[in-house]
């Protein structure tokens, strides 16, 4: 397992994403070669920044990645309050309905296109999200 802890702030999204993507590629996970894999991880860390304790200067995000029996598992722990995962439905996109087109809500569906397993977890008393894929 590889692990990285970064300050909970927007500037941490890029290095934390790079860490997880490089670790998955080093583990030779086929999906990690896809661009959308990197986007999905970036979205998950962005969510952690948004929903974690970014109001505290000492707040952190911990990213864990492990591979076991061809199952990749990522845990992104932000220490925020526990939450129920909303249903990850892709917002409707139609050229005939631009007035109802959403400018947000694409993050979770992107995550779920890569990671069929997505659940809220609690690690050492801190909440976060666990993402998984089998290959």
């Amino acid at each position: 397992m590889a692990s990285l802890t970064v300050p909970n702030r927007v500037e941490s999204v890029r290095p934390a994403t790079a860490f997880l993507v490089q670790a998955a590629r080093a583990m030779k996970v086929p999906a990690a070669a896809e661009h959308v894999f990197e986007v999905a991880i970036s979205e998950a860390i962005t969510n952690a920044v948004k929903h974690g304790r970014s109001d505290r200067d000492d707040a952190t995000i911990t990213c864990d990645i492990e591979l076991e029996d061809r199952q990749l598992t990522l845990r992104i722990i932000d220490g925020g309050r526990g939450f129920d995962l909303p249903k990850a439905e892709m917002p409707e996109v139609s050229p005939d309905k631009l007035e109802t087109l959403s400018d947000s809500g694409y993050g979770l569906p992107i995550i779920q296109t890569v990671f069929p397993i997505m659940r809220v977890v609690k690690v050492d008393g801190r909440f976060g999200i666990e993402l998984g894929l089998k290959y």
Binding site: V13, S42, T46, V49, V93, P95, L98, G105, Y106, I110
Partner: protein, 114 residues
């Protein structure tokens, strides 16, 4: 992030110079697009040649600009030029290719408004 803005034949060309259009820079990008629309620019071409990574916040900025144009009076559109393959693939995944027209070159995108 540096964002260059130019005008040609009544079309405003917006060029983000960084390779990542993500949560770190999306707010500035959105503010720039909305400010241009607020100043009366209604034909916008976003040149994405330099952008090889975009996330939902970057795409949200484009959608926000498009919606702002469409809900105000008069013709107007946000069109994309020189979209790089990773960005094309994400546009397809979330089906935003149905609302944004892309062109192989900035010149073609400008021509499309004539």
């Amino acid at each position: 992030m540096q964002i260059d803005v130019a005008t040609e034949n009544g079309t405003t060309i917006v060029r983000p110079s960084g390779d990542r259009l993500d949560i770190e820079v999306a707010a500035d990008f959105r503010a720039m697009l909305l400010s241009l629309i607020d100043q009366g620019n209604r034909h916008l071409v976003v040149d994405l040649k330099a952008v090889t990574f975009i996330d939902s916040s970057g795409l949200g900025a484009l959608v926000s600009a498009l919606k702002t144009l469409k809900r105000t009076t008069g013709p107007g559109d946000v069109r994309l030029a020189r979209v790089q393959p990773p960005v094309v693939s994400l546009l397809e995944i979330i089906r935003l290719n149905r609302v944004f027209t892309s062109y192989a070159s900035v010149e073609q995108a400008i021509q499309s408004f004539q």
